[in-house]
Subunit: 501 residues, 4 copies
């Protein structure tokens, strides 16, 4: 009789080839690759619960547990796929019914729907991906703090609008990156908290009249808590939108970091060089060493932005209910985005670690360009009592003059300021040359910026220490969640092994 | 002399007309409309601080404070705009210098840059918009809970894939909406926490050597805390990405709610009807009453998704630094998205409040459609001991048969089950007709779903109560932030008035 | 010596594992699957040309041609991939050098770069995908015209804003779909014309000093013409943006068609039913038959919109030059979008062919709803001489009254109009009941709409005939391009076989 | 009586404030600003046609024409807006009825709907915007060709992956830009052809039984032809998707041009400098001159990509029918995108015209960097008979060696090649130094690239001439369409003035 029952009794035809090709086959392949283990774990937890609640007899429970353990241990290849059914679960149930008969195997799905099964396994997959991302991000944050530390005094021009602005250090730039990434951690954590709720027991959309114990299954699957409303549990996927938004935001930030590094690794800047292993060559141009990893990172950011838009576009205007386009089709772009983001975090970590800096080129640029002009104007304010705007205008005309005559910042002299002051105010400034020289020294610029948030080395030391502590706390929190999940899995598999037929 | 100084001393031409038309004029108009008051407040706080720190003499401080208070009280129209300068601030400073002379007016901007001025006012604007959104959202959540309560027993078909699935109540659907919105609250709150940090004092990108007191200005502007790194303070806008992602996620959810309501307000469903004031007519078709508000909500969701993408696309591949495309140009789509989201929350609240339900049509559809078939199968499992899949297959063939003969769910008889069982198992089921009738009753279906997350009325009562409590706590937290900001503003304006010349 | 040369002489390390995992391995896999044959064909054409131009000696030409023919005939599995090189081409050249030695095998790439090789093969792949799409679209257009023909008199309500508007026929709706698709054909054709230009010979970005014959290779590869500027040939990918925009536009249109069909296949409408083979069931709800194909089509439209955005986001702000993010990384989303679009066109064709209509339900809805109210107002204008707006207002009040009393359109009587007219104008209309009845008859409404673009059956017959003719011409034009390409391929492989060593 | 009729007779309330604020008020404002004149023109054409067809008596026709001419001449301010109606048309009709009474004024809308009125005026607006864009684009193309001509021999490094690749000229780069823009012209033209079809006469969705002359009105409105199917005429907006896709593609391309110019205008490259009028300064950093126009162009590209996504997201999953979200709400982003694109084309034209080049810096970079290495390898092939790959490897090791010792390209000597050859092949190359020097000369590199598409000056001259001819033909074609439209407008207004009461 086992061959006579199945999911598609309601209809008289199997799915057509076009639908299989476009829809079911890629979906089944994705499920086998990503959620197979999660679903086996869910089956075990559900069946253990059915037994505990007396909904299914212990003998049947034991048989089904044994069968699922076999499949789980055998892996995805155990599941025969013939393109006649709709999803991985159909094939799993068919295999179980084939092995145990309809009367036993047909009880696995009691009080359950593919709706809650799939949103549960999707949340488990998403939860896992988010944890991997948070761990990869922690590694990247560690590296950015290490580099911030190492290069806290490596002077270079700071830019705004791609023009020399004020001197910074490479470490100071890196520290700002670390701060963005710390907020990315919080965004991913926010998404994780929402993904970490268990919809199992929602059934199709209204739970069931069978006396399920949803708290048991939630704990058995390592979730933080059950997701309350069954309707919410099968219809909502804002957890996925939040996760992919966090990924796209993170990746957009990394595209900016990569853009800076690519500019700085040009022949014209010459500030940094990627390791050979992160670079590509040319098949025709013998001199070429291209920063392949950086362009790849930027491209991955673009793809991730598109995956976010795909997810939102899929969901838009769908019924607020379990529907393919609004609930399950989005897993594809969401998993893809999470996986890409994780790989890019790992890659960028390596790229940063492999970077060679050229501090001489950096300092030279900072010295020749006019990035110290603000400090010069500020010094005029402090020394001469002029208003800032007046001092600003004096320096502006000195710079304009210097550039028009091909002079660099280190060639600015006290007399130049006097001449400009004479023209604007009718009197010279009379600043000693030593004061001017000091104001124009990029490293000195940095040393005097000691207020909160400034690049002075003392600030950097304290700031890096406090950020290392925060990072350690973040990493511990993620480790605790990962451990809770791992423990739950071991417990369920253990219970199942103890109870198997 | 006051006319001789200005921001553009470095260059010899004003902006060209094309650049003004495409860039500066809309930017200035937006600033005057949205950030004028925020920037006046910042000027006051900054100048008060410059005085307290001894950076600018009290006489000049008093004069500048007086001038700014004049402008703040006079409003945006006080600022003469002639399309020769780059932004609202240029016009403001020019006006102050015109009034006070270069030697006094030229001191306003000491130790400050437009970079930190603008990211501070942008964060204040964003903070305000997020608070407005959270307040509007609280109103919408209240209404959804009210409706969940009122319609906890208004039976209707529940749908998956737009087909009858299982009976639900209108209140149960509404409660799931409320749960999504509660998570939207948390996402918007996450964004608010990141927007609520003060970059003032960052200067252009590295703070300054003037001894600014960044904690004073942060508190004076009602921020939760200073944003530490100055570079971060002028280069990062992940706060904006987080805010607009949260808006787009919220709006995507609302598009689904609107899609349901639009389907249910068709002639064919006839479940709900919008109030006339939320409806449009036809200029040609006299019978027409169109659910205009719903289509507008869905359109606004699409626009908001696009604004999110605009923001991410602007920022992508820009230098990680203060640049127009990555930092300031995004304010336009971000403010727009926040404002639309707020208006839509307010509108949907009214639409829901104005909705007329047709409980008879809803119940009829639930009774005639086959949404109770799952419960029938479950009853077979419980009564006959068959496995769920076998019971499912029996009911599936009964339904298929009924539909092929044009029968409705309430016409299914015990004999139909017997016939199907006979065909599949070789024996009848023998279920009493009363059991079948009870299983097929939609209201009874709902009453028996009492486990966690089910639609049983008792569940609904408890669930609504706990959600009302959570909502009240959320609203209090937002009110506290709003009050902190309001208090800070009053204090600064008070200090300024006391100190004005 | 053959093992001593290679592409990465310039650098000292192979690509690192992270870069391989994230970048090179998926790229190589995609190339082996999609562009292997195109690149073999390019190699043959290029080497034949090198021989004809005397750039490489005939003996080496013969040897290389033989080697490439071997690989082409053996297929992608012939290429040993060890994750130490950057792309498929590196492996191909390495294999050729391994077989023929550096002195012969090292000549394949003379006067060529991977830049022009890859943009050529990308255009060949895109060209092929666009042709497949145009052919699938032609099939879909044929089916829509067939259904427009078959259902030219199948009356149903026409909707605006999801409310009954005016009577239409299913065929009339289908014809409008056909007209959108005809414009999609033109958009895809526009993209094809731009993809169908040959960049080969562009070299890295400036051609070469070797006397290449670009016209020979362009013709040999079946292109319409060479793409003139070499810089354009390696830096631009607007061909790809145009293609994916056309796909996303087409898919957005199909999402609307699917949305209509899904609404009409609900229990509440009951107008159409999908074939079982295009439907999915429920694992728990025995009655369920879900229009899976329609939700899949809508989801695919969302994904395609996201792929468009991914492509644009990748390209944004990249240098206008050969760069990974702006030129080659976009192939992934572009191919994906084209393939999905093609599969969906084929699937929707089948879905439409498998559709079961319920003309009775359709006509009943058209009769009971108030879709004929416009015609009634128009008849009043024609019969009574009232202005349209006055007649519109009379009918509007009649409808409002009827709905408030639960009456349907077919219950409207002449006296109802008289009463409304009396209220508004102070006098009855006095329309004979037969005139009212005729005006309210949905089928009659359709018959009288005979002006250009109206749904009258005579219009439909003529319109379908002219569209069939246009479709045949479109299909012929595509067939001619496909044949040109096929002929060119056969010629090149023939020349190569004749010349092989 | 005139005050007693109106559009909203069917309902009992005016729109609520929230709906007005969020939906109607901005829509009416947009209509008054963008489509007022188009709609007046449509009214005239429609009423003239109603008279010619005998549908409305000449006396009423004359009165209505007079009234509309009054409004058209008075401008949008003539229309009283009180936020009680739904759209501009409602206010216009109300005003006409107020002036002429219901019996005359109520006839304006005979045989017409807002549906066809609005899609007609939307197409007229879109048509106009596309023509403006095409004209602005023609100006930009002219400037790019002028610069290509002027700088056909201004040598600079050509880049791939932001690294020196091969020498190019600034003119050669500019010419590639011109070629992309020529394709943008074709895409915009494709969109224009689809927008240039007249839906007037479609009525609500099925035309009407009044004997309208749709060909008359189509010609009167200057359209190329009527849009055949009435349903298509009110339900489809693929014209808008095509237009905005073309804009977004164009803008994406311009973002790349701006990215190059921004890189080249850094202190580090120093190749180009924007005019002061296209630059911004800093309020704090006196030395700053920022390429504001370029960042604005890139930001505008990002916004335009977002507007495209907004448009597609709005339309997705809407009914294929006249609905707000799929048909009319998209006008906002589409108009916005077209207007931004036009402004950016005009701005970039000016920016290019105002650019100052630094040919010395450009040539120096081309000479010092290793961009001529490919030519050196090619010369080895030609002189020594080695295979290209072998030559490539020899040069690669020479370059690697040089860079590791801090030498520039112009310091490479024949002996360096001999040493590398000795290491790889066991024998020196023996190339005369003069040959090496010539191969490494960037200008010589360019001169020898004379094959189709190469940068040799002779190629440039011919290529620019042929492109100028193509551009002139493009401009003529657009001018002819603009003239057709202008003539039609003059004719209709003339006929109306002749016939006015």
């Amino acid at each position: 009789m086992s061959n006579e029952i199945g999911l598609r009794e309601r209809v008289r035809e199997p799915p057509c080839d076009r639908l299989v090709e476009s829809y079911y086959r890629p979906n089944v392949a994705r499920a086998l690759a990503i959620t197979f283990d999660h679903e086996m774990w869910i089956h075990l937890a559900h069946v253990l619960m059915l037994g505990r609640q007396g909904i299914v007899a212990q003998s049947a429970v034991a048989a089904i547990l044994g069968c699922i353990l076999d499949l789980a241990e055998g892996g995805p290849d155990m599941i025969p796929v013939d393109d006649r059914a709709e999803d991985m679960y159909s094939y799993v149930e068919r295999e179980i019914v084939r092995r145990l008969g309809a009367d036993v195997g047909g009880r696995l799905h009691t009080g359950r729907s593919r709706n809650d099964l799939h949103t549960s396994s999707a949340r488990m997959a998403l939860r896992g991906l988010l944890i991997e991302n948070l761990q990869a991000l922690a590694g990247l944050r560690t590296t950015t703090l290490d580099l911030a530390d190492r290069h806290a005094e490596t002077v270079m021009p700071g830019y705004t609008h791609a023009q020399h602005a004020q001197p910074v250090t490479f470490g100071y730039w890196m520290l700002a990156v670390a701060d963005v990434l710390a907020r990315d951690h919080r965004r991913l954590t926010g998404a994780l908290l929402h993904a970490d709720l268990c919809p199992l027991g929602s059934g199709a959309l209204t739970t069931t009249a069978f006396p399920l114990d949803r708290i048991f299954t939630s704990e058995a699957l390592g979730f933080a808590a059950p997701l309350d409303s069954a309707y919410d549990g099968v219809a909502s996927r804002d957890d996925a939108l939040e996760a992919i938004s966090a990924c796209a935001t993170l990746m957009t930030g990394l595209s900016r970091v990569a853009a800076d590094l690519q500019a700085w690794s040009t022949w014209e800047y010459g500030f940094v060089e990627l390791a050979d292993r992160h670079s590509a060559v040319s098949s025709i141009m013998p001199q070429k060493k291209n920063p392949a990893a950086l362009e790849h990172i930027k491209a991955a950011a673009g793809i991730t932005q598109g995956l976010l838009m795909a997810t939102m576009a899929c969901m838009k205007n769908t019924a607020f209910a379990d529907v393919n386009d609004g609930v399950s089709a989005i897993n594809e772009p969401v998993y893809d985005a999470c996986q890409r983001t994780c790989r890019i975090c790992l890659l960028l970590t390596e790229v940063l670690q492999g970077l060679t800096l050229n501090p001489d080129r950096m300092l030279l640029a900072a010295t020749k360009g006019f990035g110290s002009a603000t400090e010069l104007a500020d010094v005029i304010v402090r020394e001469s009592g002029l208003s800032f705007r007046t001092a600003h205008n004096i320096v502006a005309s000195v710079v304009r003059e210097a550039l028009e005559h091909g002079r660099t910042a280190d060639q600015v002299r006290s007399q130049d300021l006097d001449a400009a002051s004479q023209a604007l105010l009718g009197k010279p400034l009379g600043l000693p040359q030593a004061v001017v020289t000091q104001a124009l020294d990029p490293a000195a610029n940095i040393r005097v910026r000691t207020i909160l948030g400034g690049p002075a080395p003392s600030n950097m030391r304290m700031g890096i220490a406090s950020r290392r502590a925060a990072l350690a706390a973040d990493a511990s929190a993620i480790a605790a969640i990962a451990e809770r999940i791992g423990t739950a899995r071991m417990r369920v598999f253990g219970l199942a092994r103890a109870a198997r037929a």
